[in-house]
């Protein structure tokens, strides 16, 4: 006998049998997280690069070409169109075909060498604010470097005040996107996936009516809930192992911390998210409702509020509130810490405590919600 408690074992056995009965489900249950990781690991990148832009160069001079060369040779920009008229720039921006339109006026070169200070205009598409901001900064930096090079050519003896910035990134020196996306995906996937798997476990029996058999049996609510929990926890744990191995082999993300700590923290987190799914399952009468709400409160928040793309302190107040009432934010800090900083459990006591509280609260509420009577 696997479990000391026979009633608990009966629920586990029944649930496992039900899972095994559908080959499609079984295959998908293990394949879905891997497919998501492959797609996102390769496809998801937030680097600002190859920004498509168009130029209306009315100067057609060496000076304007020199200037454009600097823009084109940076990895950030990719020239796509050379319209003749300024109006065409605006049209291309409206169509969404370019994110920036650059304008050089006819007297660009002449002014640069005689009368003074030619304008270099840039129209920037503001509909993606973060990219607009980056474009604005990059172009400013390029203009500055151009002017400095020009000044140095004109007056080789003169000195200017210069500050050289030595940028450095700790924990991820090459600032590789995949080094934060792959550990981040471990967190997001293990947030929505176990919750969704478990979100149907109990409500399904309510909808089909087989829960009445549970009501009349001698089983206690906690045995029923824990029995439902264990199989899904098991699936999620195997998913975790797969995801971890894939991050290591396929994406070769550096792993600096302790595997044992990561596994322990993951188990705690999985307990919380699986219980969340079960709790949803006890709250509703229909599977559709449970499934939809679970998707909504896990899938999008896992990506947006967990600190995956944006650090939590940079968010608005409402979003920070969302971030801290949901478990993935805490787990994200732990996972990134283990992967990239190699820190141990002593650094993450508050986060571990938060995860334990979430797990206890979700599981406790789910057990309380299972009342053995017909409403």
């Amino acid at each position: 006998m696997l479990f000391p408690n026979r009633r608990l074992q009966a629920v586990v056995v029944k649930e496992v049998r039900e899972i095994r009965r559908s080959p499609l489900y079984l295959a998908l249950a293990f394949a879905v997280p891997l497919i998501i990781e492959i797609l996102f690991g390769y496809g998801l990148t937030l680097d600002v690069k190859n920004i498509p832009f168009a130029v209306a160069d009315h100067s057609r001079s060496r000076a304007s070409r020199d200037f454009l060369d600097r823009i084109q040779h940076s990895p950030y920009f990719h020239r796509k169109f050379n319209p003749d008229r300024f109006q065409d720039l605006e049209r291309l921006l409206q169509e969404g075909k370019v994110r920036a339109g650059l304008i050089f006026f006819p007297d660009f070169e002449r002014r640069l060498y005689t009368s003074g200070d030619p304008e270099f205009q840039a129209l920037i598409d503001g509909s993606f604010p973060d990219r607009a901001e980056a474009i604005r900064w990059y172009l400013e930096a390029i203009t500055f470097e151009y002017n400095q090079a020009l000044a140095r050519r004109r007056a080789p003896g003169l000195t200017f005040p210069t500050i050289q910035v030595e940028p450095r990134a700790w924990f991820n020196p090459d600032l590789k996107s995949k080094n934060f996306i792959v550990p981040g995906l471990l967190v997001t996937t293990l947030t929505f996936y176990p919750a969704l798997l478990a979100s149907l476990a109990i409500v399904r029996e309510k909808e089909t009516g087989s829960i009445l058999n549970v009501y009349i049996s001698p089983i206690r609510p906690w045995e029923y809930v824990v029995g439902k929990l264990l199989p899904y926890l098991g699936i999620a744990f195997i998913n975790y192992l797969f995801l971890f191995l894939m991050g290591d082999w396929l994406f070769q993300v550096p792993f600096r911390g302790s595997f044992i700590f990561l596994t322990g923290a993951t188990l705690l987190f999985l307990l919380a998210t699986t219980s969340l799914g079960l709790l949803m399952s006890t709250l509703f009468k229909t599977q559709v409702a449970s499934m939809l709400l679970t998707t909504v409160i896990t899938l999008i928040p896992a990506f947006i509020y967990s600190g995956f793309f944006i650090s939590v302190p940079s968010m608005g107040a409402e979003a920070q509130f969302m971030a801290y009432i949901l478990p993935p934010t805490y787990f994200m800090e732990i996972v990134r810490g283990i992967y990239l900083k190699g820190l141990g459990p002593s650094f993450y006591l508050p986060q571990l405590l938060a995860l334990s509280l979430f797990a206890a609260a979700f599981l406790g509420l789910a057990i309380r919600r299972v009342r053995k009577r017909v409403d």
Binding site: A141, I163, N172, I300, Y305
Partner: protein, 369 residues
């Protein structure tokens, strides 16, 4: 046919509105969720937690340190030792440390290049990169100030940026619209798929099939009811949240937006139907949904830019209706693009929508037949 369709439609609506919980969830998703996402998603560098490590401690170094301020940098710590720096970065309390080395002012006075170290927490590399870039800008502007207005070396290029469509770069316009498009996608795939699989689970689908109803009618009823619910909910979120709370400027184009939304919802419900033909239970449905929805949602150029993707991945996105719909939606509601400039995307959405819906309808009919 119309009478049968009407009574079926009535059945679908009754079923939807009777499930109060489901109704409220849909309402929540289209209002509160949009609001929270609108205020939350903001990849730019804002309030970036920063520490200043001024080892020079001169008038010059202090005035440089003062340039690091809100809204971009939130200087929370002034530190004096390497250990402090290490601790703050390790614990994630700050994401950037600006180190001004000892002879900063002396180097500048002697006309030698001074250095400035910027150490960012690279764990979220995209914001780290932006922050480091901004440090560069700040130091450049600082040297320009030092040099003063007169330039002995002659004229230089003056950079005049102008941001169109969203001049103050309000993140909430972008993120609330993207969230709306994501939610529309999610709901219009999920609801019809679930509605049909549920009938399968209950066995009521077979009951429907023995009635004089034709498969097309069953399908149309599902699609029309769900599409109309999604359209109504989108209007709700535009006029309850996005226009009044986020003050998105009115740029017209609403009619065309609704039309293309309808078209988009149809192709999405088509996908939902297709899923429904393969699955026997809702547990299977949810897994298939995930595998389709997550890449469609996050890799169609919504939350992340298309141009940064690997080339082959960019090609795949042409198969996603959301790619076209996003550009149409953003174009009409945010950029005020006239319809004739969106022809390509409208055409893409229509063709892909018809193909998807046609294929799915065909599969569904075959399945029911």
């Amino acid at each position: 046919m119309w009478r049968r369709l009407l009574s079926l439609l009535k059945k679908e609506y009754t079923q939807f509105f009777r499930d109060r919980a489901l109704m409220y969830i849909v309402l929540y998703v289209f209002t509160v969720e949009i609001y929270v996402a609108g205020t939350g998603f903001n990849i730019e560098v804002r309030n970036y937690p920063t520490a200043i490590y001024d080892r020079d401690n001169t008038q010059l170094s202090v005035s440089l340190a003062e340039k690091f301020r809100l809204p971009h940098f939130n200087v929370t710590h002034f530190i004096h030792t390497d250990q402090e720096m290490e601790r703050l970065l390790n614990e994630g309390r700050v994401s950037l440390v600006v180190v001004i080395p000892q002879d900063f002012a002396r180097h500048l006075a002697e006309g030698r290049p001074a250095t400035l170290q910027a150490i960012a927490d690279g764990t979220i590399s995209n914001t780290a990169l932006l922050a480091l870039g901004y440090v560069q800008i700040i130091s450049q502007r600082f040297t320009q100030e030092l040099a003063g207005p007169e330039r002995p070396t002659g004229p230089g290029v003056v950079y005049k940026p102008r941001v169109l469509f969203n001049p103050n770069l309000k993140a909430e316009w972008f993120s609330s619209l993207i969230e709306l498009f994501s939610v529309i996608t999610l709901v219009s795939i999920l609801l019809p798929a679930a509605a049909i699989v549920r009938e399968k689970e209950y066995g009521t689908l077979e009951q429907l099939l023995v009635t004089p109803l034709r498969p097309v009618e069953i399908m149309l009823a599902k699609v029309l009811s769900m599409a109309s619910i999604v359209l109504a909910a989108s209007l709700l979120s535009l006029f309850l949240v996005i226009y009044p709370i986020f003050h998105l400027p009115w740029r017209g184009g609403l009619l065309l937006f609704l039309l293309s939304t309808a078209l988009y919802v149809f192709s999405a419900t088509g996908v939902g139907l297709l899923i429904a033909t393969v699955c026997r239970t809702l547990s299977e449905t949810i897994l298939l949904l995930l595998i389709i929805i997550t890449p469609v949602l996050f890799l169609s150029g919504s939350w992340t830019p298309l141009e940064a993707m690997p080339y082959w991945m960019g090609l795949i996105t042409y198969l996603s209706p959301l790619r076209y719909y996003l550009n149409i939606g953003d174009g009409l509601l945010l950029r005020g693009t006239p319809w004739y400039l969106l022809q390509d995307d409208l055409l893409g959405l229509t063709i892909l929508g018809l193909l998807l819906f046609g294929f799915c309808a065909w599969r569904f009919r075959k399945y029911l037949g």
